[in-house]
């Protein structure tokens, strides 16, 4: 043994003697890293852990503290307060959330995940916020990526990504109990508990639910029961298998019955149940940080469950296997290589006729992050997806046509450059190509439909402003959306119609978002933002109707124009008082009015100001009383045609133990 090696061995023994306890940091320890770097940490930009300010994408992060002081009782309410995020509500518990325009009923452009597990429902192409099996008290942070990030997350991350990160039971114990009553005849409750049955194992369990009257102006006659119900249960076990290997097992089930509105304009009642099972292994070793995940999601929805004939019942499943390796080469280069296989299946009963179809997707992708110097870093991510679709369509089920087969292959990419000329100033340059794939339902109705392509170009400028004790951000972006599609009903005679989901055309969006946030004294946090959208549509195809062709898309009129949002939260340790307002401009959308006829007409949704306020008092370290009010200034205003919004006030109590 050489002297050098002998010395190294002595050092190694010394290091082992000093740091001889088991390692606990294979999965990303968001809490410790956030404490270390004094800012939130994310993996939603590139797959690698990064400080939020270093991320090469436009990103917002809502922290657990912000959630706790927000008064919000659901995730869409939290998102509605962010610049460039549009939330429209239909019924008490049905929300459509879009980032940077193109919102519509059951919008397909926003990919939503919980700890990287997709809760976006591929079979239809939408996110059912009501059945996401997560309680607010178990969320560590919500990461919001604005713009496409298909190269990391795959199809459908085109408008943006919302990744909900829960507390890791191995690192954080969360024990809460919360209950509340709504002054309009509603009740809700939730609980989160963490325990350690073994020294190397931690389990977090959560459950929650609510029951409430639907809003007054919704068409109750469809269901015969005005009660809105929702519940969810989740359990996650974290196991420190070895000093550098962790295993996570998770199971969830959730259910909801409520009113919703389809892209076609139909108002329906949905009785749905979702389940999920997931297993994840992470290993930190010589080959870097390796993560292998397998999960299966199922959804079962009954439409208008009180009707004598099933009108649109579905059973859908998603199975995913994915492996990724994150590793660093030298001092400046971080790489991610990943492979994924997914299988989606759909069993559909449409007006009594059963159909089945499915697709699978093979994906490979990679990411390279290069810290060029202390001021400049670049990131390039590329992904290839190949989708194979086969199965029945509306034409094979009803008209004797052969079953359909399709193969769709697409390349997506994200490229970003982050430049920090001074510690206070940061520029972020981004180019991305995102892919929105047709859903199984879309392919059932229109098997020839092509994916939509979203090309995105964006520049951010962030500046820390010491006078505000905060920061400013200005984002300028341009989106080129090609081959947009939606689902609409073509009416061939009064009462005779068929759903269709063809590509309808292109649309461009230029936008600017200006936002400020700061702190006044030690107790008041505030924010304000102003967003401008300028949309230019191409010539959209029209939908057939028995009295001529009719428009079904017009994003120049339906995209929100200028939006102003502002809010502040006072927190002195005992009292918390918050107020959040957003000014939503007028817009035009299409409505079929007569649900059996589908003669689409333009309808104007008037502008409104939505004001939420919350007040809470901490009795002691364990008990907090709250009064939370929503939509105080837009009671009876319409956000989506077909029903008004009612103001709501919740009185709640929250225990921590």
């Amino acid at each position: 043994m050489s002297k050098f090696n002998k010395k190294s061995s002595i050092f190694a023994l010394s290091a082992i003697a000093m740091f001889g306890l088991p390692a606990m940091a294979q999965s990303i320890d968001y809490g410790s890293l956030e404490m270390l770097f004094d800012e939130p940490v994310t993996t939603s930009a590139t797959g690698a852990p990064q400080r939020s300010t270093d991320a090469p994408v436009t990103m917002e992060i809502i922290s657990a503290d912000e959630i706790r002081n927000s008064g919000a009782v659901n995730i869409p309410t939290l998102l509605s307060r962010l610049a460039g995020v549009e939330v429209q509500q239909y019924g008490r518990n049905f929300h459509d959330v879009a980032i940077r325009g193109y919102n519509q009923n059951k919008t397909p452009r926003l990919l939503v995940l919980v700890n990287g597990r997709q809760v976006f429902q591929d079979y239809y192409g939408f996110t059912d916020w009501d059945v996401i099996p997560v309680q607010l008290d178990e969320i560590r942070q919500i990461e919001i990526v604005k713009g496409p990030n298909t190269a990391l997350f795959g199809f459908n991350a085109v408008g943006g990504v919302v990744n909900i990160i829960t507390f890791n039971p191995l690192y954080t114990e969360t024990n809460t109990l919360r209950g509340g009553v709504d002054f309009n005849d509603g009740v809700r409750g939730s609980g989160v508990a963490t325990f350690r049955p073994f020294e190397n194992t931690a389990i977090r369990m959560s459950a929650g639910g609510q029951q409430a009257q639907e809003f007054e102006d919704l068409p109750f006659e469809l269901r015969g029961d005005p009660q809105n119900e929702q519940w969810a249960f989740a359990a996650e076990a974290g196991i420190q298998a070895t000093s550098n290997t962790q295993v996570f097992l998770e199971g969830t089930v959730s259910s909801s019955i409520r009113m919703e509105r389809l892209p076609s304009g139909a108002n329906i009642v949905r009785d749905g149940e979702t389940t999920s099972l997931r297993a994840t292994v992470t290993h930190d070793g010589d080959w870097g940080l390796i993560n292998a995940t397998a999960y299966r999601n199922t959804q079962e929805y009954l439409t208008n469950p009180f009707a004598p004939t099933p009108s649109f019942d579905v059973e859908a499943g998603l199975t995913v296997f994915k492996v990724e390796d994150l590793f660093k080469v030298g001092a400046d280069h971080t790489f991610r290589v990943a492979g994924e296989y997914r299988e989606n299946t759909l069993d559909l009963i449409l007006f009594g006729n059963s159909s089945s179809n499915e697709y699978n997707v093979f994906s490979v992708g990679g990411m390279w992050n290069w810290a060029i110097n202390d001021q400049l870093s670049s990131t390039i991510a590329v992904r290839s997806d190949t989708m194979n679709f086969e199965g029945e369509t509306i034409f094979s089920t009803n008209f004797g046509a052969p079953e359909a087969e399709r193969e769709i292959s697409e390349i997506s990419y994200n490229a970003g450059l982050v430049y920090t000329p001074t510690p206070r100033d940061l520029f972020r340059f981004q180019i991305a190509r995102g892919i929105q794939t047709p859903s199984l339902v879309q392919l059932f109705f229109s098997p020839d439909v092509d994916p939509s392509i979203v090309n995105n170009y964006a520049i951010d400028y962030d500046r820390q402003i010491s006078e505000l004790n905060g920061k400013m951000r200005i984002s300028v972006f341009y989106q080129d959306n090609q081959d947009l599609f939606t689902v609409a009903n073509a009416a061939f005679a009064p009462g005779v119609n068929i759903p269709t989901g063809e590509n309808l055309g292109d649309s461009e969006l230029f936008g600017v978002e200006l936002s400020f946030e700061g702190r006044i004294g030690n107790h008041i946090d505030w924010y304000a933002s102003y967003a401008i959208n300028d949309t230019t549509d191409g010539d959209f195809a029209q939908v057939a109707s028995y009295d001529g062709l009719r428009d079904i898309l017009d994003f120049e009129e339906s995209n929100l124009g200028d939006q102003l949002k502002a809010g502040a939260v006072y927190d002195d340790g005992k009292w918390v008082f918050g107020a959040h307002a957003r000014v939503v401009p007028s817009r035009q959308v299409f409505d079929s009015f007569d649900p059996g006829d589908y003669q689409y007409q333009r309808v104007t949704v008037d502008s409104y100001v939505a004001l939420d306020m919350n007040l809470s008092y901490r009795l002691n370290d364990d008990v907090t009383l709250s009064l939370d009010a929503f939509d105080l200034t837009n009671d009876d205003d319409v956000q989506v045609p077909g029903g008004d919004i009612d103001s709501r006030v919740w009185a709640s109590v929250r225990f921590t133990f």
Partner: protein, 171 residues
Amino acid sequence: MRKSLTALSIIAASMLATVPAHAAGERDLQLIGRALSFVEGGATGNVTLAIVYADDVAGSQAEAESISAILGSGLSAGQVTLQPQLISISDVSGIGSDAALFVPSGMSAHYSAISSAPSITVSTDRACADAGACVVAVQSQPSVEIYVSRSAADARSVSFASAFRMMINEL
């Protein structure tokens, strides 16, 4: 006039040699404690932070004592509690293997001796990491930066969690 400028230059050079570029504060020390948690093997509990001084570096003993005073009877940072101990540069080779060696700024003349210390070496002076004498150097203002000398870490067979490595500056 020329004599005056020369005198001023000597005074300035003397000040640069003796006055620390950046005296460590509590925030810096907490950063060091938290960073130690990401060393493979996971430091937890009480960790002795041996603060080195040199008689021939003016003010270094005073700074060491100042840092020791900040740590007091123990400074909790993440999963570790840092316990102070003053140590002369002549004694670093005999430092206990269960300690971390804190190197104040202005110790460049002794980097060779510091490099021979068997324990992990930490500092608030990036120059120490640049020189390969310190494994970790931290900066808390204007933003948090963590520098790790790969050569110093390799020499001690110290490695860090992969996630940590992806977020710091390796030199």
